[in-house]
């Protein structure tokens, strides 16, 4: 097969729609007679709801209904069903939706929410996860034991523990005894918001015949359908989920969100379509964000740098609902030191409820957390050993075919190569070469790097399917479930289809409005799994379609199917291309001159399910958690201004063993975008809470997200291509791994620049300045002196 498109930097196929603005997102969906929903949210962090009085609100012209938790006695969730549709009896955080106003206009709805009176009886709140673990702590979910849960998770009823994951490999105590050097530190990452640009929104229409149509800004239409069915007791055959263009997801739109609320409201108000669209402030305070992360990590090594033991304790401050975060705690736990060959590893990872904004998956899913703690630890270990941090990493990273992972899996021969990634990024930023010192004496240059890995944290049985439908004009309908909210997976898949069928890529049609009724199943679009799982299903479907085509053509051309090849829109005899039949004569059935016909419309079907994944052992966490590991490394050069504490990233490079770059342009987009998000999280982002649990910065003026002037113009993308045999053309996923190593890379560079360790994110000017003042007071004084005597040129 000629690879005309695979490996080619092709813009996303739906670019025209996006760049002109004609693309329709859920924000843009409007149905005749549609009503608007606005949430009334809790002003208490933890309280019983005594009474809700909506009588005044209902007097506002245009207001149709006000609904409360009493109307919706359901529990929702994917892994632990701890969520409610609207607060039932009790609120658990400031921002918890307690009622929904339905009105003819947004204006009327917004007027009415101010008039809904809610009486609360305050309960003692708990904001700190360590407090929440104490015996006397208020219990946020008294009915935890009754919630539906997936088998891999272990909430502890009667406590605030939503999940406890344990990993035991080897004997850590023995490992530490063997160590010559041990470093032990604490780490912290704050709550952050995904900040996808399109806020969560959903349009729902419950029809009188029981059919429910839903348009939603969600990542995974099939998961929405399935979880809605499960949670509400509605047959999924009655539910149709449409997925228009989606304005970003980053994990925050995985699973189920507002769809049940919108659907149930639609029914309550007389089967009218309704729309719920969050404002940015609601997105920060009433929708889930990334959890806060606390860690204690102890690493031991021999004098020569060989790692002997790693012990970690993770506490995930999961906020009021941990439905999805329970799996983040699992992924953080099983990925601790995943990229290293360490004989003895021990980790406890707990998801803990607090009275704060609920939390969910976010790009990297537990891995940014473990990478932050581990890659900072390794850096400090290198310092302690007085060893080049690059050398220390090169010595300890896992080796394909040889190493055993932390979960006890013997790495496959074609697993990829972290060494090549490290070497590539080191070269890109001239690792080891001393840089010229900036002319202002208070500015310092430093370089840092990190190595890491990520595979999809999906249930072992997460499946995918694909349908390839060929039309009369030999255009091809590519019907897969994987969504498109920026990654462009569908474009990569279309490139594969085009090459395999020998048609121009423009002839491969991907859907811009996708629906559970018209595309093939996929479990979810999460975990960087799309290209791998749906790609494998597509390959199988292509094989199926080609087999059908060749069967027909073999009768027409009177050769064996095996002697045929499909190329340039024709089926031809290998070596005798003049003996051919155009695909257009076959795809709807071949008709002989006398009218006799054979074959029929061509539809290929394919599927994928992992034959190797297992559940992890409940005691030891051992098993096979993932279908691939994408290894990667990041490096950057920073400038630290000791006067103000400001950190500026001057240049950066990331390398990933992605097996095969099906589309180098899309790869670069992911790598740069991931770096920028990582930089933003490293330097700026933190949801700030006050002492009563209120979010202080629910807007983009005070919650800063990196913009064009905040980032370096040089962000190198280096693909490393060691193909994995069971992956489509060898390609592994990269959607998440691209951001997860960025914060430690930057903090390591800061350490290299000024010899100051910062283990709490974000590295805001004030945090950096305080750390310098604490760890190197003499430097602060020295710099101040220099400032006064510094000669300015005017």
């Amino acid at each position: 097969m000629r690879q005309k498109y695979i490996g080619k930097a092709l813009p996303q196929l739906d670019s025209f729609h996006k760049v002109t603005g004609i693309a329709k997102y859920t924000h843009d969906i409007s149905l005749p007679g549609m009503l608007h929903v606005k949430l009334v949210t809790s002003t208490e962090p933890h309280a019983e709801i005594i009474n809700i009085d909506a009588s005044e609100a209902l007097k506002i012209p245009g207001v149709v209904a006000v609904l409360t938790g009493k109307d919706f006695p359901y529990r929702l969730g994917i892994y632990v069903g701890d969520r409610d549709v609207l607060a039932i009896d009790k609120v658990n955080w400031v921002g918890h939706p307690v009622a929904a106003v339905v009105a003819e206009t947004m204006e009327a709805a917004e007027k009415a929410i101010d008039l809904v009176e809610v009486d609360y009886k305050p309960l003692k709140p708990v904001f700190d996860p360590f407090e929440a673990l104490k015996e006397e702590a208020p219990i946020i979910h008294p009915k935890l034991g009754e919630y539906r849960r997936a088998p891999a998770f272990t909430p502890v009823p009667g406590t605030n523990i939503a999940n406890k994951f344990t990993l035991r490999k080897g004997d850590v105590e023995k490992g530490f005894k063997e160590a010559d050097v041990v470093v032990e530190n604490r780490f912290y990452m704050p709550f952050v918001s995904h900040c996808y640009m399109e806020t969560q929104s959903v349009v729902a229409h419950y029809h009188k015949d029981g059919t429910i149509e839903i348009w939603t800004s969600a990542q995974s239409p099939f998961a929405v359908r399935n979880l809605m069915g499960l949670s509400l007791g509605i047959p999924i055959g009655k539910i149709i989920i449409y997925q228009p263009f989606v304005g970003g997801g980053f994990g925050g739109k995985a699973g189920l969100h507002w769809e049940p609320l919108a659907a149930l409201i639609s029914k309550k108000v007389g089967y009218k379509p309704v729309k719920l669209k969050l404002s940015r402030k609601e997105q920060f305070t009433s929708a889930p964000v990334r959890e806060g992360f606390h860690a204690e990590v102890k690493v031991g090594a021999k004098r020569n740098g060989k790692l002997t033991a790693l012990k970690a304790k993770f506490i995930l401050d999961s906020g009021a609902f941990a439905d999805y975060t329970v799996n983040v705690s699992r992924a953080a736990g099983y990925s601790v030191g995943e990229v290293y060959d360490i004989p003895n590893v021990y980790c406890d990872s707990l998801a803990v409820y607090t009275n704060k904004v609920p939390t969910t998956a976010m790009r990297g899913f537990g891995h940014p957390e473990s990478a932050w703690a581990v890659e900072r630890s390794i850096e400090m270990l290198a310092n302690e050993l007085k060893m080049d941090p690059l050398k220390l990493r090169l010595m300890n990273v896992v080796k394909a075919g040889i190493s055993t992972t932390v979960t006890g899996e013997r790495l496959r021969e074609d697993a990829g190569n972290p060494v090549q990634c490290l070497e590539a990024v080191a070269k890109a930023i001239n690792w080891g070469k001393t840089e010229e010192k900036p002319k202002e004496p208070w500015k310092f240059i430093g370089k840092g790097l990190a190595v890491f890995s990520k595979g999809p944290a999906q249930p072992p049985n997460a499946a995918s399917a694909a349908i390839i439908k060929i039309n009369e004009d030999v255009t091809v309908d590519l019907m897969v479930g994987t969504g498109n909210f920026g990654q462009g997976t569908l474009t990569s898949l279309a490139q594969i289809v085009a090459d395999e069928l020998g048609v121009p890529v423009e002839k491969v049609r991907i859907r811009t409005m996708r629906s559970t009724d018209t595309v093939a199943y996929t479990w979810q679009t999460v975990g960087s799994r799309g290209l791998f799982t749906d790609g494998n299903a597509v390959l199988e479907a292509l094989k199926d379609a080609k087999k059908q085509i060749k069967e027909v053509a073999s009768q027409v051309l009177r050769v064996k199917p095996a002697d045929l090849e499909i190329k340039d829109g024709k089926v031809m005899v290998k070596g005798r291309p003049w003996e051919n039949v155009p695909l257009s004569d076959i795809v709807m059935g071949y008709t002989y001159p006398n009218g006799n016909s054979i074959g029929g419309p061509i539809i290929g079907r394919g599927k994928y399910i992992s034959p190797i994944n297992t559940y992890l052992d409940p005691e030891t966490g051992q098993g096979i958690p993932t279908i691939f590991y994408t290894f990667g490394a990041a490096a950057c050069k920073v400038e630290v201004d000791v006067l103000t504490g400001k950190v500026k990233v001057l240049e950066a490079a990331q390398a990933f063993d992605l097996g095969k770059a099906i589309n180098p342009l899309l790869v670069r987009q992911q790598v740069e975008g991931g770096f920028i998000m990582g930089l933003s999280v490293a330097l700026f982002e933190e949801i700030q809470f006050d002492e009563r649990g209120w979010v202080l910065n629910p807007n983009f003026s005070t919650y800063w997200v990196a913009r064009a002037a905040d980032i370096p113009s040089k962000i190198d993308t280096i693909p490393v291509e060691n193909p994995q045999k069971d992956a489509p053309y060898g390609a592994r996923g990269i959607g998440e791994v691209v951001m997860l190593g960025v914060p430690p890379t930057i903090a390591n560079a800061v350490q290299n620049a000024i010899g100051v360790n910062i283990n709490n994110l974000p590295l805001t000017p004030e945090n950096v300045w305080k750390a310098i003042k604490k760890q190197r007071p003499e430097l602060v004084e020295e710099i101040k002196k220099k400032l006064v005597s510094w000669k300015w040129k005017v």
Binding site: E198, G486, G488, N699, F700, A708, I711
Partner: protein, 158 residues
């Protein structure tokens, strides 16, 4: 209830009359009444820049402008940047350079950089970054946008 009034403006070269209430925002009117979905909203507070339109030739954030203020004005949205049913050079350059991922921010970036290029076709990389700093792209396409703008700049030089 306050009475709506009729306003007239030119949108993407076509004269339009719409009925609006005094408290309606320009962004909402363009989106809801004229179906110009190239105007997006992600903050409703002037912070993200995705509701940018050209008002009498200049980029402004339409979530902080009353529709009545635009009476008599000329408005261009991303839909209006197209040349007939073809992409403009700048739009094409955005596509070719991969300056879009989820696409939610893209129309706004095209409008702002289009204006910059009409004013300053030889804008430096620094100037481009500064000029788009009122807009957010969470997918992180900034460097591709800078490339796209540089590439398209030749078409703005007289």
């Amino acid at each position: 209830m306050k009475m709506p009034r009729k306003i007239t403006f030119t949108v993407n070269g076509v004269k339009k009359q719409v009925e609006v209430k005094d408290n309606e925002l320009l962004a909402d009117v363009l989106r809801d009444k004229l179906q110009l979905t190239g105007v997006k909203q992600a903050c409703w507070r002037g912070e993200c820049g995705l509701c940018t339109v050209l008002l009498n030739g200049k980029p402004v954030k339409s979530c902080l402008i009353l529709a009545v203020e635009a009476n008599g004005a000329e408005i261009v949205t991303s839909e209006g940047l197209m040349e007939g049913d073809k992409l403009s050079h700048l739009q094409k350059s955005f596509v070719e350079n991969g300056a879009l991922q989820c696409g939610f921010c893209t129309p706004a970036f095209t409008l702002v950089t289009h204006y910059l290029l009409t004013q300053k076709p030889d804008a430096s990389e620094e100037e481009i970054r500064e000029y788009i700093s009122g807009l957010i792209c969470r997918c992180g396409t900034y460097n591709e946008i800078v490339k796209a703008v540089k590439q398209a700049s030749q078409y703005y030089k007289k």
